[in-house]
């Protein structure tokens, strides 16, 4: 039975679109799981959710306008929103929360309305479903999408590694960082921009609704197992890649929707990590 699955996979991997899907999937999973650590710890989990809805709204507009590269519109709009939301969030927490919810629901509704009213496609609910859940879109990637994704992921990874210690400090203690003259605001801005870019990228993989899962699950799972920032960051990256790869494999073999399958695998992984973390702590003490 095992050889059956293996030979089936081998045939699949002869198709370029399957290979593209895996390259893009692994890269996005790696980027979003790394970024997830500071975002979750800074209590910005919701930013991912809000921004993904903004990206959905922008993609809807681009689709209605029959633009060829929807990214050209959704990337700048999402980056702009990320910067504005983080600005607000700093001044007042309650207002910041409400602002995220308002922008999020507003762009979701406006996006759907636009698609409904002016969409040219015959299969509207199918289109919306694809944008929201990324049903099969990862299997329809063009080489240009793949190159763009590789380039952006490399930039994100390099920035993360280069600024790793600064990210730790502004996440752990923003005030100390500021008091010793580190440009906290610039690094927060950088974090917002990177997050927005990763979200726009990840829409291709899991669609806009499930992006938060890619950002939050690996980080929270890793926090069950490790107690140091380095340990959590590395573990989160590994979990993100492993779970997303597993999810993609299952979805291809079983013919299930890629986005939902990946998220369910992440959920199962989280439960497993929780149990493992509990067992570890019980054994040590």
């Amino acid at each position: 039975m095992f050889t059956d699955i293996l030979s089936k996979l081998m045939t699949y991997f002869t198709y370029p679109f399957v290979r593209y899907a895996f390259i893009v999937g692994v890269l996005i999973a790696l980027c979003s799981s790394l970024l997830g650590v500071p975002l979750v710890l800074k209590r910005y989990s919701y930013i991912g959710d809000g921004l993904s809805h903004v990206a959905f709204g922008a993609v809807s507009v681009a689709t209605v306008m029959n633009m060829t590269g929807t990214v050209l519109l959704s990337a700048p709009v999402t980056v702009l929103c990320a910067v504005l939301l983080l600005r607000r969030g700093r001044r007042s927490n309650i207002k910041g929360d409400a602002a995220i919810a308002m922008v999020s629901v507003g762009s979701l509704a406006a996006g759907y309305l636009l698609m409904n009213r002016f969409g040219t496609s015959a299969n509207l609910s199918g289109d919306v479903c694809t944008t929201l859940f990324g049903a099969t879109s990862i299997l329809t990637l063009q080489p240009i999408d793949v190159y763009m994704c590789i380039a952006l992921s490399l930039v994100v990874l390099l920035l993360f590694v280069f600024y790793y210690h600064r990210i730790f400090l502004i996440t752990f203690d923003e005030e100390f960082a500021q008091s010793v003259g580190i440009a906290v605001n610039s690094y927060n801005l950088l974090l917002a921009v990177i997050t927005a870019l990763v979200i726009v990228l990840a829409m291709n993989l899991v669609g806009s609704l499930l992006i938060s899962a890619l950002i939050i699950f690996p980080a929270v799972s890793a926090m069950r197992l490790f107690k140091s920032f380095l340990g959590v960051s590395i573990c989160s990256g590994i979990l993100g890649v492993v779970h997303s790869t597993l999810g993609l494999l299952v979805s291809i073999l079983a013919g299930t929707p890629a986005g939902s399958t990946i998220v369910v695998v992440h959920l199962l992984g989280f439960l497993l990590c929780s149990v493992a973390g509990w067992v570890l702590r019980e054994c040590v003490s």
Partner: protein, 233 residues
Amino acid sequence: MALLIADNVVPGYDRKAVAPAVSFSVEEGNFLCIVGANGTGKTTLIRTLTGLQKPLSGRVIFDKGFSKTQAGFVPQFTHSAKDFPASVREVVLSGCLSECRFRPFYSRVHKKRASENMQKLEIEDLSSSSFQELSGGQQQRVLLARALCSAQKMIFLDEPTANLDPNASENVYQLLERMCQEEKAVIMITHDIKGALKYATHVLSLSGENAFFGTQEEYAKSTLSKEGGENVY
């Protein structure tokens, strides 16, 4: 030339002053204690000095050769989020970051300095423990070690001994005194007046209508004449 000069600085929030205007200067080797009852604006003042907030009026002036990256800050102790994953070593090392201008990683010098400061505060055997699982006093000592890593010329401390046992407090005072002997400046808020006066060279008192600033001897004399002996802030 003084390292830091406060020129009629009024600390406050949202245009509301919380302390009278203060003027003083701190030179290399000075040990300045800021004293005053709860709510007299000590924390607000030290946040203004470190640049975390702007003064309502007046100016905080640094000497030309001195930049914020050569200062360390130990904030007033608060219980932080329980589940932040960070080891003691990671926290202490992060104090060296202000020196890593364009360098992405710590150098060997930084790692050595972090180990030395952990030894000074007697937390080297905790170095791989989780910061959040330590006791309040242990956390305070970790934050002190972090500030020592960045304090090449000056250190600001907001009630650093509030959570420490007498032995550890004494150890901290001696550490600070040694820093003064190495021509660094110490600015510390404290309620432990008796302990602090032994080491302070200058005192800033925020109680009352007008702030008092003077040398330790002047302060001792003024409180003696006013209150006749034991002072109550």
